[in-house]
Each structure stands twice: as C-alpha cells, then as structure tokens.
C-alpha cells in the first residue's frame, strides 16, 4: 500500500535528521563552559579537585567529546537516555513524568490556534477589504508581535489576580482533572496566540485567492447558498496551505512552551529544559531537543497525510 510505504520512508528519514540534531546539540552543550560536576561542586565547597576529577571519570566526562557522544548513542539505541547527574535520577524517568504535561499544554495551544484562526480567517476573506478584515488584520499583527512571556504575565495579572477567575499556580490535581484543564486555558492561549495570528492570515489569504477561482462562480451558478459555496467548496481547497503552516507552527508551540511553562510554573518539559540548561545536564538537554525534533517530524508527516485527505490529486507511493 502506497501510504504505508510513504510513512515508513518518512520515519526512516527521521534518523539522519535526529542524528544531525543530536550532534549539533552535543557539540554546543560541550563548548559551553562548565559541566554538571561544576554545578554539584558549587553547592558543596568541601569537594576538592581530586574528587572532582574522580567524579568526572565516574560519569565519563573526562573522555573526548566524540567518545562521550558515541557512548550516548550506544545507550540511546538501548532506550537509555542516560543519567541526570545533578538530580541523581535517570533522564528517562524525568522525561516520562514531564512529557504528558507538555503534550497536553501543546494540544491546548494548538486547539486554541485552530479554533480562533479558521473562523476568523474565513470571515476576513469573505469580508476582504472591509472593516472586519482590517480589524482582524490589526488584531493578528498584535498577536504576532506580543511577546508570549508578557502576554502570559498579563493573563495571570488580570485573570488570576484582578478577576480571580484562575489560580496563579497549577492546582495539585491529576492532569486531566477539570481544575487542571481550566488552569491550562491561560497558558494555552498564551502559547497559541502567535500561531493563531499567523494561521489566520494564511487562512485569509489562501481563501481570498480560492474565492476568485471559476469553480466558485460555477458553484454559485448552480444556485447553492453562499454558505455552502464558502464552507464546502472554498474551505476545503483553502485548508491545504493552512495545513502546511499548522505543521510548521508546531515548532513555535514547542519552543513557546519553554517560556510559557516557566511563566505559569507548569511542570512540563519546557521548564525542565530551562533547569537542565542551568545545570549543564547534557543528557536531559539532548533528550528534550530530540523530542522537539521528533515532534516536528511527526507534525509534518501528519500534514502530508492530511494533504492527501483534503486533495484527491495528492497521492503518495
């Protein structure tokens, strides 16, 4: 079957991509001054240089970078992401405990972006060059320009402090508890705003372009109501370019989660990433970076599958 082969091919293509990502990350982390041992030592003035050397040897940090990398790859192939030295825990355990939090937050942001972008994009395209279009353009431009940390802080300030509708900190409840999901609305909006704005503009321009095509006139000439013409005939054709951007924006959502998780004290991979950077936890940094790469590859793969669903002219094989 064509699609299965296509998916397999794409999954195999991930391997060189992830290899590249891991090499670059590994080198960058290693050229930065300091390592986990320095971090541990900073809190324990009793440890002398001899013990430091001993610790480095124990964790293999005295080896050349390429040897460390090969060892890391060897472990990775066995499903072992290594150890977070300063935390005295395996990276696997940390990663798995934070992953659901980040995925749920990302989905919130993504859902917010789509729910906002598609209807407003349609509206702006239909009302092209009218008041509504201009207003939505200004809002979209603001959405793209506002830094997400500031937007997050403002939402906390007004949503949590002024109007008292949201808690300031995440509730100590299970992830899918209604209270937790309610709390997630604010970080979700924060993460999704920039994406919603970009997606909305793409939706608008792609729809405005489709609307001038002859099949639209033909659909109108059939006597179909404008609603059907737009929401059936034009929408499906316009969604193709939106899908591309939606996949692309996954990168923004994943990277946005770093800042937003810190602002909202959300215990996800993004916040973990910031801590890992401060502690020079190479293994943890690598794990999260690779996760970002995998997420992007999956998003693009999904986009390719959605293309084929939207447009019968696109077939893989």
């Amino acid at each position: 079957m064509g699609l299965r082969r296509f998916v397999l091919k794409r999954v195999l293509l991930t391997v060189p991509i992830l290899f590249g990502v891991s090499v670059i990350t590994f080198v960058l982390v290693n050229v930065a001054p300091g390592d986990p041992v320095d971090v541990i030592v900073a809190f324990n003035p009793d440890i002398g240089p001899a013990e430091k050397a001993q610790m480095r040897e124990y964790y293999g940090l005295d080896q050349p970078v390429w040897a460390q990398y090969l060892r890391w790859v060897g472990n990775l192939l066995q499903g072992d992401l290594g150890e977070a030295i300063t935390r005295n825990r395996s990276v696997n355990a940390i990663f798995m405990s934070r992953l659901p939090e980040t995925i749920v937050l990302g989905l919130f942001g993504w859902a917010f972006a789509i729910i906002i972008a598609i209807p407003t994009g349609i509206y702006a395209a239909v009302r092209k060059d009218e008041m509504g279009d201009h207003v939505s353009r200004i809002i979209a431009l603001s959405g793209i320009s506002i830094p997400n940390f500031w937007l997050g802080l403002m939402l906390i300030l007004f949503g949590a402090l002024t109007f008292n509708l949201w808690p300031v900190l995440p509730p100590r409840k299970p992830l899918l508890h209604p209270d937790t999901l309610w709390f997630l609305l604010l970080p979700g909006i924060t993460i999704g705003t920039a994406s919603a704005s970009t997606m909305m503009r793409i939706m608008r321009s792609s729809m405005a372009e489709e609307i001038n095509k002859e099949y639209v006139t033909a659909a109108r000439a059939k006597g179909l109501p404008e609603r059907t013409v737009i929401l059936k005939h034009v929408l499906r054709n316009s969604l193709i370019s939106v899908t591309t951007v939606a996949a692309f924006l996954t990168a923004g959502i994943v990277s946005g989660s770093v800042v937003v998780e810190v602002v909202f004290s959300w215990p996800g991979l993004g916040r973990e990433f910031v801590q890992a950077l401060n502690a020079r936890e190479t293994n943890l940094i690598l794990a999260i970076t690779l996760f970002t790469g995998v997420a992007l590859v999956i998003a693009n793969l999904l986009a390719d599958i959605v293309y084929a669903l939207l447009d019968p002219r696109i077939r893989y094989g």
Binding site: K213, E214, Y215, T217, A218, A219, R220, A221, K222, G223, L224, P225, T228, H233, R236, N237, L310, D311, P312, R313
Partner: protein, 355 residues
C-alpha cells in the same frame, strides 16, 4: 412574452485605470426553445452580458442600469434568495473551461448531485441516480463507475460533458453556454455541439451561446447578436448574418475566416485591435479599424437601426439591426463590399433543416 428580455443593460467595471463599460446598452431577447448566439472578440462584453443574467458580476463590476426580464420578472429587482432560486434551476450555465469550473477536491458525481439535491430537493440516492443518468446521457461511458471519479481523472472532453450534465441537471429553461467548446479540439467540439443541441431540444431548453467562432454560430444558432467593445453592433437571423451582413465589423469577421480551397495567399484580417475599454474612441468605436470610416464616424455614435429603413432598432424586439451610420444617411460614401457565396448555396439546406 419572450423567455428572456434584456433591455439597455449597462455594466461598468471600476478598475484602477478607470471606468470600463463592459456592456453598453445591450438589448436582445431569447424566445423559449430558441438558440441565440452572441459573437465577438475577447473583451467584447459577451461573457459579462451572460454573467449579468445570473447576477454573478463581481467586484469591481456593477450592473449600472437596464432590465433583465426572465419570464417577465426583472432579475435585477429580485432579492438575493429569489435570484438563487433561478440559478441552476431555471437559468444554468456551461462554463468555458471545464477544468477550472469543476472543483478539484470533490467527485464529479457529487458536484452534479449537490445541485440536484439543492434545487429539486431530491434525497441522496435519487440525486445520485439522476446524476448517473445525466452522465450517461451526455455520453460518459460507465457513468455509474465514473460518478465517484475526481475531475482530474476525466479527460478534457469528459470534463466538458460533465459540466454540460451539471448545467442540464435541473431542467433549466435557459442554458447559457459560454464558449462551451473553445478548450476542446475540433472533433470533440463538433460532438459536444451536437450534444448540446440534441439535449436542448430534448429538454426544450433555450440556449444563449457565446462564442468568438462564427462556424459555431452557423452550426447551432437561430438568431445572432454581434458585439464590439461592449456594444451590440448587429442583430440578425443566422442565415441573414452570413449571406447579408450589414455592419462593417461583421463583414470583417466573415472575411477573416479561413476557407478550404481558398485562392487568397494571405488570410484577411481586421487591422488593429479592439480598443482599450477605458479609452473608447469617440463616435463609432469601430471607426479606427473600419475601411469605410469617414469624418462623421469620429463624431457621431451610431445607434442600432434597421438597415433597410434606417428606423430605430434599439429595442429588445428588433430582429434586424446594425449600428452603422451608413444606414442613417450620415455617410457620404457607401459600404463597398460584396458577399460571395462559394460552392453550393447552403441556404436551401439551412431552410430545409428548419422545417
């Protein structure tokens, strides 16, 4: 009462370069079951006139004035809902380029069925059945299997047939065919034209055929209107137009048709090009290209008149009209051309055919 009466229709396009009058006081009528042709070069206002009938003129275009009476009711006065009920149902359109008129992401069958479901209120199964029958009737083999094909899986000729099936799907009283065969090669063109004629006869549908091809007009139409730069310049019964053209532009069009067995070395053409509609010449808009033009032609705009009597023939009921100053006595000279019929005179055949 004629099926369709268009009276003094004027359509303007407000472009950045200026106002373009794409249709300028166009009047004509189409009787029930009649085949009416509109001929002219690209940009003469043929399509704009036709789109106006369905009120599908889009920005920056605007129907400025006039009346379009369909079964006695003015389409321009109708509410959006009323017009929508006409579209597809009573007035349907065959588009010029089937490939772009079909939505690439829906099956051909669905695109025909949806019109039937919407206009005739059929349920899914009945609409599907009717669509398959229509596809079969327009000559698509294995119509049932082809129902679920997408437009790109159809050949050009089949796409055009599908568009015809779509137009005929709800038994319209008036079928607007906008260059229905321009995108096709000649052999398929002949077949499709036959089919349109046959189906129109079968369903008792009037046809308004728009084309730049006089051959197509000769083959299909009963009456013809020639348009130039947004204006009707000549109206006549089809045979009359070919054997006794009255307007210099029509004469020019006729002599630029290549003929088999022709002894001329070069094909005759009308010198120059159609004027930019933003800046139409004064007087008669054809005068810069007209071999018979005189000083008067640059000053006075000719109105359609009966070429025999010189009486006003601007109305919808005029069957014979030519907009040339030669017929109002404003010219010093004469229109100096002769019509030569080569081979046997097919007028007799045409006459027989119409019995």
């Amino acid at each position: 009462m004629a099926l369709l009466e268009v009276e003094d229709l004027t359509v303007n396009f407000y472009t950045e370069e200026g106002v373009v009058t794409a249709a300028d006081e166009v009047s004509y009528r189409v009787e029930r079951g009649e085949k009416f042709g509109i001929v002219g070069e690209s940009g003469a206002g043929k399509s704009v006139t036709s789109m106006s009938l369905m009120r599908l003129i889009e920005d920056p275009g605007r129907i400025e004035s006039g009346e379009i009476r369909f079964k006695g009711e003015d389409i321009l006065e109708m509410s959006e809902t009323e017009v929508r009920e006409l579209r597809g149902n009573e007035i349907a359109m065959i588009f010029q380029d089937a490939q772009t008129a079909l939505n690439p992401v829906f099956t051909v069958g669905e695109q025909i069925s949806e019109a039937i479901r919407h206009n005739l209120g059929y349920d899914d199964d009945k609409a599907r059945e009717r669509t398959i029958r229509l596809l079969d009737e327009v000559g698509i083999p294995e119509a049932e299997a082809r129902y679920s094909d997408y437009p790109h899986e159809f050949s050009g000729g089949m796409q055009q047939r599908a568009v015809i099936a779509m137009a005929l799907s709800c038994d319209p009283d008036l079928l607007i065919a906008d260059e229905p065969t321009t995108a096709l090669d000649v052999t398929i063109e002949a077949k499709i034209l036959d089919q349109i004629e046959e189906l129109a006869e079968e369903f008792d549908t009037a046809i308004q055929l728009i084309t730049h091809d006089l051959g197509v007009i000769a083959k299909v139409c009963d009456r013809v209107m020639v348009m130039y730069a947004g204006k009707p310049v000549e109206k006549a019964a089809a045979e009359e137009l070919f054997y006794d053209p009255k307007h210099p532009y029509t004469v020019g069009l006729m002599s630029s048709i290549p003929r088999i067995g022709d002894t001329r070395d070069r094909l005759q053409t009308i010198p120059g090009t159609m004027p930019d509609l933003v800046d139409v010449p004064t007087g008669c808009s054809f005068h810069p290209r007209c071999p018979y033009a005189e000083a008067a032609c640059t000053r006075k705009e000719p109105k359609p008149v009966d070429p025999d009597t010189g009486m006003d023939a601007t109305g919808t009921d005029a069957d014979r009209a030519a907009a040339c100053l030669a017929y109002t006595g404003d010219l010093a000279g004469e229109l100096d051309y002769t019509v030569e019929v080569q081979g046997e005179d097919p007028r007799l055949q045409l006459g027989d055919h119409r019995e």
